[in-house]
């Protein structure tokens, strides 16, 4: 009886929506008690969770192991910076712009990358991201290699809505929840079925009359667009954009979040992102070698044969 109850509690705690609700609760509590530090931390976790969620969709559902997801993430951030320089500060314009800019990058690069498989796909996505990195590093009008600060936070319907850290936190958590819902619906739809089936057996799906290439390209662009949204939010939070956002280290971090949370499950990425942000924040305060701690966490997950963090927590709960 007690064990059954413990399992139910564990299942509830590990439910995909719980992590997002947990973030929302964290924001609400932090705002209520005036803990600005916690609001900033929860916002950062939500933003990175959004980026990891989009990569989880591309890797876990589409079977496309992209090592260049930092590129659309950074392009979303640059969309905010560049639009801001031209006087566009309205968030309801900036977010769609960031989405479209990142997706527009993904369509031609994905069209080429998807003609390759396996390790070649990994390398070509990395190559495109590095090309984007060097292109933006060369844009001296927008800070070049050093990056550039935003003139100020975006407005909403003309009001300075995003000047409040709390409002930015709610926007980030809201977008994360919306993206999780949309991707969940996409995966459950016929499009998602084709995507998942092609991941398992491309030839079988082709023989049933579906274009695997086109399906994957759409999924790749959708994932990139959502990563662009995350980049835009990060630009708003830090009020600073630099090519470092597109660095291959960032792509690697996103992959770690996805793998840690479980690449087969969309929402696992949210848990993975929160875990990485927490390790970075709290271990990073103790030692500059905090990534060693992250490495140990990954080792613990892998060595316990738990496959991912959710499975490890579920095992501990049992």
């Amino acid at each position: 009886m007690t064990r059954a109850l413990a399992r139910r509690v564990a299942a509830l705690l590990l439910h995909p929506a719980t992590a997002i609700v947990g973030l929302a609760l964290a924001v609400a509590l932090a705002e209520a008690f005036g803990w600005n530090f916690a609001v900033t931390l929860a916002t950062r976790a939500a933003i990175l969770a959004l980026a990891a969620l989009s990569l989880s969709f591309v890797i876990g559902q589409g079977g496309m192991v992209s090592f260049g997801h930092a590129a659309p993430f950074g392009i979303g951030a640059y969309a905010v910076l560049i639009a801001g320089e031209y006087g566009i500060r309205e968030v309801s314009l900036l977010l769609p712009l960031a989405f479209l800019a990142a997706a527009a990058f993904a369509v031609p690069t994905g069209a080429l990358a998807l003609r390759t498989r396996g390790v070649y796909f990994i390398m070509i996505t990395l190559a495109f991201a590095q090309m984007a990195y060097f292109v933006f590093a060369a844009l001296s009008a927008f800070g070049g290699d050093d990056g550039m600060g935003l003139a100020g936070r975006a407005t909403f319907a003309g009001a300075r809505f995003l000047r409040s850290d709390g409002n930015l936190a709610w926007l980030s958590v809201g977008l994360l929840a919306a993206a999780a819902w949309v991707l969940h619906r996409v995966v459950a739809a016929r499009f998602g079925f084709v995507l998942r089936a092609a991941r398992d057996d491309e030839a079988r799906v082709s023989a049933l009359g579906f274009s695997v290439y086109r399906t994957r390209l759409v999924a790749y662009a959708l994932g990139a667009g959502i990563a662009g949204l995350a980049g835009a939010l990060l630009a708003e939070q830090t009020a600073f954009v630099s090519p470092a956002l597109m660095n291959w280290h960032r792509s690697g971090e996103l992959i770690v979040m996805v793998v840690l949370g479980g690449s087969g499950r969309l929402a696992g990425a949210v848990l993975g992102a929160i875990a990485v942000v927490l390790v970075e924040e709290f271990l990073g305060g103790v030692t500059e070698y905090w990534k060693l701690g992250l490495g140990l966490l990954i080792l613990a997950v892998v060595m316990s044969r738990a496959i991912d963090l959710r499975a490890l927590l579920a095992r501990i709960a049992r």
Binding site: R190, A203, V205, S206, A207, L208, G209, S211
Partner: protein, 234 residues
């Protein structure tokens, strides 16, 4: 009459390994053809070439008189070829209904619906909420055929559809294929069960080492048993 599908002097294989040598065959509307041969003679390679899953190194693929050599597999499937692959290969993590609905075609004049598949295989209706991997081998085969029918093909291609099934289930599959033939659907069957295929098929094609060793009416094959002994027995 223009054939639904035709291979003309096709060479095909895997990388350096050539499996098919100047292979020519065709299937006309409403016709049932059985492709036979011992293991490793190129039957599955022929099917994969028909579906564009392997690009021929020589020769042509014709669909309803149009040269479709080298087109992608999904284009071939959309032009009216439905495949029941070897080993069934249903989607194990989808329910029976999802397996069927997910592949449903929106082709004009499509007449295969969920209800029509359920009429052909009532057992699939009973098990519509079960996952693919919760089905028996025979049920999985019915699902694989139903899934191919939901693409509303002009030609149904079955690769070893009765392989590994109990005799009673095999009979069910053959009976279903007879029903489909009566409805005028063209069928290309790859199978080892000579007696059952002779009852169903109009023509037989026997393959040996990537070439057609014998082709003719099923009645001719039935009349001359030495042919079966020569080409099909180990």
């Amino acid at each position: 009459m223009t054939a639904i599908v035709a291979l003309e002097a096709v060479d095909a294989g895997y990388g350096e390994a050539r499996v098919l040598f100047e292979l020519s065959l065709e299937v006309a509307a409403g016709e049932v053809v059985t492709l036979m041969g011992r293991n490793g003679m190129g039957k599955t390679t022929t099917i994969r070439t028909l579906f564009g899953l392997i690009r021929p190194t020589a020769g042509r693929l014709w669909l309803r008189g149009r040269d479709r050599t080298g087109v992608a597999a999904h284009v071939v499937a959309r032009e009216g070829l439905g495949l029941v692959p070897e080993g069934r290969q249903i989607f194990p993590r989808l329910t029976v209904e999802e397996n069927l609905v997910a592949t449903a075609s929106t082709r004009r004049g499509a007449n295969w619906t969920l209800a029509a598949v359920h009429r052909l295989f009532p057992r699939l209706a009973e098990r519509r909420r079960n996952l693919g991997d919760e089905l028996s081998g025979g049920e999985q085969q019915m699902l694989a055929i139903g899934r191919a029918l939901m693409t509303n093909p002009d030609l149904l291609v079955l690769d070893e559809a009765t392989e590994g099934l109990a005799p009673v289930l095999r009979d069910e599959i053959w009976a279903a294929l007879a029903t489909l033939k009566a409805e005028g659907l063209a069928i290309l069957v790859v199978d080892k069960h000579l007696e059952a295929s002779m009852r169903l098929s109009d023509r037989h094609i026997v393959m040996e080492k990537g070439r057609i060793a014998w082709a003719g009416r099923s009645s001719d094959l039935a009349a001359d048993r030495s042919l079966a002994t020569r080409f099909l027995e180990l």
